[in-house]
């Protein structure tokens, strides 16, 4: 693997770290298997592309993407909390609807933003370090800010109430926690983060595509699980950093598998590689525990 490819993999890994943290919030904190992310990821990208091309400041476009993602999360929460639809099914409904909505947002299935300003471009004008190294550095700073905010939030009274909602709903209610409200808040936050990931994906790859969301949940889960395997422990800070490291390592591993010529893989094998890697990541911790089920 060339160093150019390695930095590229790190860059993609950092973009998907937002997805990892979002999936961690829904899956691990709220215990809510939320497939909305497959729709809110391209939604974030679509909103960003349309607004940047419409002349918006890229930061404002990214904030709007976060709001759009949060709204998608609220729809899933409403289906589950108000109408008692099974959590995973509620999220699949939103995800399905978002496919059409994303095409409506862009008015077409994909949208390039070739030379437009992005949140990254102001940092890329110098020649040292080169852009392919500078991009991951800027992304790393953004990821660090997200990690800090999420970890701080989970240490507040409201954050604690959200963790209790995922861990023990009956106890949470007895302590006066409105567990339904926590599902709304948690899914909004989770999908806002995923949409920011989608927004950055569009800004780094310079296109938005309605199919970019397929398998987002798998990628996010992979980040969470690889993180948990490499950085075990119950501390929230460790777990959230684990999501970031898991996301980067996962991308580097995929890149390595694709560029190892002796394996004879081609780009279209990516999804097979992803599925195999996630399956391995899911199986490894189980083997380590001596085959007991979770």
């Amino acid at each position: 693997m060339t160093s150019f490819a390695l930095w590229g993999a790190i860059e993609t890994g950092l973009v998907f770290a937002f997805v990892g943290i979002g999936v961690y919030l829904a899956f691990r904190i709220l215990d809510f298997p939320d497939l909305t992310v497959d729709g809110s990821f391209p939604l974030g990208g679509a909103v960003t592309a349309v607004l940047i091309l419409g002349g918006w400041n890229p930061w404002a476009a990214m904030a709007a993407a976060a709001v759009a993602g949060a709204l998608a999360g609220l729809v899933t929460a409403a289906l589950n909390v108000w109408f008692r639809i099974l959590h995973i099914l509620a999220s699949i409904l939103t995800m399905t609807a978002l496919y059409s909505i994303n095409i409506r947002v862009m008015d077409r299935p994909n949208m390039p933003i070739m030379n437009a300003e992005t949140v990254l471009t102001p940092f890329l004008h110098g020649t040292t370090p080169p852009a392919y190294i500078m991009r991951p550095i800027v992304l790393a700073v953004l990821v660090a800010i997200a990690v800090a905010l999420v970890v701080l939030f989970l240490a507040t009274d409201t954050g604690l109430a959200m963790r209790a909602t995922g861990a023990n709903k009956r106890m949470a209610r007895a302590q006066g926690v409105r567990t339904g409200g926590m599902v709304f808040l948690g899914l909004a936050l989770s999908n806002a983060l995923v949409a920011v990931g989608g927004s950055l994906f569009t800004q780094t790859s310079r296109f938005a595509d309605v199919t970019a969301g397929v398998g987002t949940i798998v990628v996010g889960l992979a980040a969470v699980i690889i993180g948990e395997t490499l950085l075990p422990g119950r501390r929230i800070l460790v777990a959230v950093i684990g999501c970031v490291i898991g996301s980067v390592i996962y991308r580097v591993a995929v890149q390595f598998a694709l560029s190892a010529d002796f394996l004879g893989l081609q780009a279209s094998d990516l999804r097979l590689v992803i599925a195999v890697l996630v399956a391995v990541a899911l199986i490894l911790p189980r083997l380590r525990r001596g085959g007991s089920s979770t």
């Binding site: 507040t156 009274d157 963790r163 861990a167 009956r170 007895a174 006066g176 567990t179």
Partner: protein, 264 residues
């Protein structure tokens, strides 16, 4: 004060499995009274407790806690008024959260939860003092996961959790039933101490006649969804478990086939 008026609960109404769990229960518990509730399986003890806690929405009647009609309020919206310890030691706390985090959650019961840090130094020290009062050495383990504690320790912490924030009534749902005898005695001693210190209005459901008579100021026996017996003061003081059994037989004209009721 708690006032239960003509409380009726029917489960599965209109189905072949229709079951009347409570049939017109009237009960007034003055502030500061410790009431023990006894009855055989299916007598309606848990349903009565559930109706007070918010888990069971009554079919008819009213539940008033501290002057507030809470009959149809869901659990979370009446938590300001109602504190509770569950029978299952695992049910009352979060295993994956630390002892301190569980305490902070309970400390905020009845308050609006904002974006302040849950465990600033001052609150942490206050919680540490409270947990030190147990004498179990848990004040040194504030950051340990709750799941590492034994059932008895968890139940003791749950009692402290229930008394951290103010409430109009403390509900104890056979909270020593899952513990070994030594630990059960410790938790009951702790219960008595906390209830006396905080002058709590308390309703304790128990399976043991002995426990029902030994603790509290007043004992209620439920049978088939009705109050069968309601004793307090001197007449209760003179009552023995045998008397209770005899009284039960006389009133109902039948024998008690629930061994658990006679044990302890």
């Amino acid at each position: 004060m708690i006032a239960v008026e003509q409380l009726g609960v029917v489960f599965g109404r209109g189905t072949p499995l229709e079951k009347r769990a409570l049939a017109g229960v009237d009960l007034t518990i003055p502030t500061g009274t410790f009431v023990t509730v006894i009855g055989s399986n299916g007598a309606g003890k848990s349903t009565l407790l559930g109706a007070l806690a918010g888990d069971v929405i009554p079919t008819e009647g009213r539940v008033v806690v501290g002057g507030v009609d809470v009959t149809r309020r869901p659990t979370a919206r009446r938590a300001r008024l109602v504190a509770r310890v569950f029978q299952d030691p695992l049910a009352g706390s979060c295993a994956d959260l630390s002892i301190a985090e569980n305490l902070a959650l309970a400390d905020a019961r009845g308050h609006v939860r904002g974006l302040r840090l849950a465990l600033p130094r001052r609150r942490r020290e206050r919680l540490r003092e409270r947990i030190a009062g147990l004498g179990l050495g848990l004040e040194k383990r504030l950051d340990d996961r709750m799941g590492l504690l034994s059932g008895g320790q968890r139940q003791s912490v749950a009692l402290v959790m229930a008394t951290l924030a103010k409430s109009e009534v403390l509900l104890l749902d056979e909270h020593t039933a899952a513990l070994d005898p030594g630990m059960a005695e410790f938790v009951m001693g702790l219960t008595q101490k906390l209830v006396a210190e905080e002058k709590l209005t308390t309703l304790m459901v128990t399976h043991s006649m002995r426990q029902a008579l030994d603790y509290g100021d007043r004992t209620i026996m439920l049978h088939e969804g009705r109050i069968l017996l309601d004793v307090e003061g001197g007449s209760r003081h003179d009552l023995s478990v045998e008397d209770l059994v005899a009284m039960f037989r006389k009133t109902r004209g039948q024998t008690i086939d629930d061994d658990a009721l006679l044990m302890g």
